[in-house]
Structure formats: structure tokens, C-alpha cells
Symmetry: C2
Subunit: 408 residues, 2 copies
Amino acid sequence: MKPIGPIPAGYAALDGELAIGGKKASELVEIAGRTPLFIYSRNLLTHRIAQLRAAMPERLALHYAVKANPFGPVLEHLAPLVDGFDIASGGELEMAGAAGIDPRRISFAGPGKRDAELEAAISRGVTLNLESEGEAARALAIGERLGIAPRLAIRVNPSFDLKGSGMKMGGGAKPFGIDAERVPALARDIIASGAEWRGFHIFAGSQALSAEAIIDTQAQTLTLAADLAVASGAPLPHCNLGGGFGIPYFPGDEPLDIAAVGDALSRKLADLPEILRETQFCIELGRYIAGEAGVYLCRIVDRKVSHGETYLVTDGGLHHQLAASGNFGTVVRRNYPVAIATRFDAPVEEEANVVGCLCTPLDRLADKAGFPRAEVGDLVAVFCAGAYGASASPAMFLGQGPAAEILV
Amino acid sequence: MKPIGPIPAGYAALDGELAIGGKKASELVEIAGRTPLFIYSRNLLTHRIAQLRAAMPERLALHYAVKANPFGPVLEHLAPLVDGFDIASGGELEMAGAAGIDPRRISFAGPGKRDAELEAAISRGVTLNLESEGEAARALAIGERLGIAPRLAIRVNPSFDLKGSGMKMGGGAKPFGIDAERVPALARDIIASGAEWRGFHIFAGSQALSAEAIIDTQAQTLTLAADLAVASGAPLPHCNLGGGFGIPYFPGDEPLDIAAVGDALSRKLADLPEILRETQFCIELGRYIAGEAGVYLCRIVDRKVSHGETYLVTDGGLHHQLAASGNFGTVVRRNYPVAIATRFDAPVEEEANVVGCLCTPLDRLADKAGFPRAEVGDLVAVFCAGAYGASASPAMFLGQGPAAEILV
């Protein structure tokens, strides 16, 4: 039997079923009208923000990275809870706009911004995290044409990376940001141009579970920001320290110790060099805010045995859960936290594979895991589905289409 | 410098640009109105079918697997050229219906068919390739309720697999089909039920480039079909031999020798055991028909250098080209065939990385490959984009949305 990942805190059984927001899984499916279904919890989102506020220094602003989960009601729920939003495309700008988010609270990073996206962002007062000298020139030209001073920050490609992170965004040659040694010259040009100088965005990696690694990276980030500000010859109005806070997905993963991260960052921010004294610092989190607040429910449509192995075949699959299937940025497939939602407090009775409805061997949600005996009609829950699930999966694969989504 | 995969036959330069269907890449973008853009070639689809007809035995029917590319105009173009269509969901049934395909030419395989999908298929006369005894019982019950004799075949999980295939669909425990030893009992039950008995679907793997492996698998498939037919006590009306014909994607890949496959199959079909003499055989191909007939075009929006490496940043990416980015069923990333479409006949001048516009290091379309020097505004072509491209990628990731698609 292979282990499954740890089920996040905040989920309990009600009458034997997984409950979310006080409602049983079967009730939630009835409300949504169908499976497969993503359910996001208001309470868990709110609770996570409260945990972060309690752990992080007061002067640190908290941004939400829309890419993690752009579902409208999630954005609306988070709007009063966080200090800013980070977007990665013109499409996300529209989503944020539809959720009523003030564009002046938004910053836009992404290596391939088109002119139309730059124009939409500049005209609405969004801060651009510039990814290259070429993009800076295009943004300044568009600002001039529009008669608007664009709000410009520079995304820095740091020479260090975030140790143990799932995705390295710094350290060596990268398509993201501008190599640190070229940043001061560009910053001086931007300041001289009359644009509104917004500072730096320094992102070294994502999905790290080691507080030590994040503390180390944040310390290096602050040193780099100070050095670059001095070399740029101007105080730094704003500095996005990146994110990188991971969540446990796999067997043996331990939650990140955010208290330790917050303590270390508080000490750093209390002892800043002169040039950073007035700087507004933020961290940018997506997965850490939304990931554990979401559950994916699908229904078992067949139970079958092949060569002695049991298969629970569901109406869901990798078209909604690409990462959980092991096909997105992972080399060795491991089991996410998965459970039989309609038998949530029942003991393990058998070993089974949970597969999706797609005609491909890649479509596996749990591999040789232990479950209570489940039958056709039972609901399967995949946890950690609140980030990089619905929007990061090939929903149209094999003609399936998107899952339903609700916030409860 | 890392090599790129082989550019498929049928693509040439016109005025220095990649041309498809007699039109230059830049003209095609103008026609479609935007990038990123998938272009599928009528000529190459037609030519590929003609090659297959010439190579395969005359009595062998040719089916198209809709999952490879469900774009409506592609289905309409193929409708008069192939003998049947294979679908994998109720969604694909709707797509085939919208393309005017007679449902009696369609068969439906897939391990997680819902009751609503079974009902839609049975009521329209689609053949169901049954994946389990449980699904058989559901199909028979629905047929009885509707007063229709369902058209039923059994998908067999063979004990052999397709050697060297990219996706193994047989050999050992699988979620697909029914283990061969249990097939005769179910076949007898289906025949006794009064359903229309349609025979077997035996699919052992996909994306194989070795004619020898396919010949070997087809021989084993015919032996298994004969054994199962004898054990079922009835002649076999129909037998889907599966597909598995691969296309070259990567450096060093050689095209499949379909003449050798066709010769071997002709000899086999000329010397069939009694019980298969009247059987209608088909092969089911998706990738082999559509894959090389499609090209993905995206535009360079930035050209940048980081630590001495050149990055061509495009407005496309893994949200349309998940497999080309190396994130779908591959362990080691290798370069697909990629070219600068607007400098198609220019010599290699530099080493560059082609990346997408997404803010993730996974979004890479070519890694350290050799290209003519390309500038902002140039078009990049990714070949082998006709199958498992647009529909098999997470189009909504980071708020991007689907690419345009045209058939020319």
C-alpha cells in the first residue's frame, strides 16, 4: 500500500461524510448540481489570512497571487482581507476587475506581456513589474502615448534561488526579470523618465516547506534590495519579497513554520539599512492562501478489478487535477491527500487505485492507496485543490469540459 | 546546443517564411486575426489518409480517434475520408454530431462513462466499447428502459503490451477494458441479452515508432481475438485492433514504416482462422492522422539575455502546448521540432531558448536550440501540433485562454 499526502487541517466528518463550511459533501454536490466539483471554503481562506497576519510583521503587506485561484467569488472574498493582488496576464486583469478590485492595488508580472496588456494595465494604474529593458521601453512609450506616467517596478532575477523550492525562479539564467547587475542602470532610466517609480519585485522560488530556506532567501532578498537601491541612487518606495511559502502535498511533508519566518522577518525589518527605512514591503502568496482551502469532489462511476487490483473509476480526472495526477512539474508520481468523502471517518479496508474517466494511463488520482471500501455512487475528495487545480488543468481534454466551482 | 525534433514532411518556405496550404505564416496569422494560432492542413490530412489506404490491406477499416484533435472543421474534413470515428466522452459525441458524423459510424471507449453518456450513445446507435461488467449491466439496463437493443463491444485488457510505446494500455492490471480471461463469459451474456453484438476492442498502447513492435502486437491481437471468439461461442462481427502508430517528435526519432506494418497485416488477414473470416477489422488512429498536419504559431514579444543565455519570449506557451513543454507524460524534457516561421529557410545563427509568456519555469518550448537570429515580432512555429495540442493543454492557466484554430 502506498501512503497518501496529509489531509489539511480544518476538515472533519459530519454524519460520516466530509463536511465543508458545515455542509456534507453530498449536500454540496446537490447545491452545485453536478460533479466534478471544486469547493472552496470561505472560513479556511479567512483563517489562513488571520494566521499570516498573526505571524508576519505588521508593516509587511500581504498580496494574493491571482494565478493560484482566479475564481471570481474567491477574489471577492479575499479583496478586503489582503493588501494587494498580483496578476500574470491581461486575462487576470479582467478577472480582478470583474471582482471589483481597485487596479491601483494590483501589480502585473509575467515575461511575455503584449502591448495590449501593457496598455490596459498602464491606463488603469496597475503597477508593472518589468521583465526586461525591452519591456521597459515599450511601457514608457505606451505611457507617453497615453499621457500617463506608468507605475513601474523592476522584477529582479536574483543570483540566489530558494533552496528546496518546487519551482526555482532565480539563480542563473532565467526568462524572468532582469539580471541583478543590470537593474541599477534601468532603475535610474525609469526614475529619470518621469514614470512613477515603484521599486523591486524579487522572487526566488515557490512551494518551499523549510522555514530556514525562506528565512535565508528573505535575508538575501533584503540585502540585494538595499544594494540595488543604493546603486540606483534612490530610496525604494516598494519591495515585493516574493512568496515561496509551500503547503504539504505528499506523505511526510510537514507544514511550513510561518511563526519562525515571521519572527526572522520582523527582526530584519526592525534593523533595516537607511535606504530601506521607508520602503513598503510585501509578500506575494497564492498557493499558501488558497491551496488548502479547496477540495475537488468527483463521483465513482465504476468499481472494477484487473489482475487482482481494484480500480475506483471516477467522473473526474487529470483534466481538472493535472498536478494531483503527477503530470505537472513532478518527476516521480506521489499521492496527494485523497479520501472517500462519503465515508470520511470509516477505517481503511482495502487497497485501491482511484482513476479518472479519461482513456489514458496518466489519469490517476491515487495509486495503490488504502481506503474504506467504496462503491459506485460514492464521492472521492482530492485535497489541496484550492490552488493550481481548475485553472491549471486541461479541462477540454477528451471533450470533458470544466468542473463546477463553488465558494461556501 | 541541444538538437530539435525533425520537422515533418510537407512544410516548405515561401518568400523565406514557413508556408502551409500555400499561404505564408504571417498571412495565416492575418487571416486568423491573432496569435497564438493552431493551423491544420487539409492537404496533409488528406495525404496521410491516402498513405494509410495505400499501405494497409483493403479490407481493413480506418477509424479516427477524435480525442487527438476534435476541432470541428478537422472532423468535417475527415468524415468522408475515414470509415469510422472513436470517441471518449459524451462531449466528443456532441462534437461529432455537430460535425454531421453519422452516430452509427461511431464507437465510444472510456473507463468512466456516466449513465447520461451511455444513454446518449445508445439512443443514437453508437457502439459502446464496454470497460467492465458493471458498465455492461448499466448499458443493458438503459437499453431495456429505452426499448433499444444497444450496440455493444467489449474492450479487452490484453495480457501483452505494445513494446516501446509512449503509453502502455495493456499488460497487467489496468483501468481499461476487461481482463481477457473474463471476456468470454461477458460476451456470451451480451449475446444472450439480445443486444447487438459488435465484437472486441483490443488496444495495447500508443505512440510506437517500431514497425516490428506494431506487427508483433497486431499478431498477438489477432490470436487473442480468435481465442476469445472461440471461447465466446460466436463469430466476431467487428474487431478494433487499436492503433499505436507513432510520429517522430524528438531528435533521432525515425518515421514508422507503415508499408511494413501493412504488408504484415495483409498476410495475417489473408490467413485468418475460420472464426474471424467474416470479421470486419479496423485500426483506430488519432495522433498518426492529425499530429503532423498541425502547426502552432506564436509571436515573439521580447528578446532578452540573462547570464549570457538568449531568451525568445513568446505570446504562446504550455497553456496550448503542454506536451511540447515537456510536462505531459514525459520524464526527460526534449525539444519538439521548433522553428522561426518568419525566417524558415535562414541558417542557424545563435543558440536560444524559446519560452512562453507564463510566469513559470515549466513554460519552455525550446531549450538551448539553434535558430536564425529572431527579433520581436517574428513568429515561432512548433510542429507536430495537430494532435494532443489545443485540447490537451490547460488553456485557462494564468488567465490566458484558448488559442485560435484554423483549417487551411
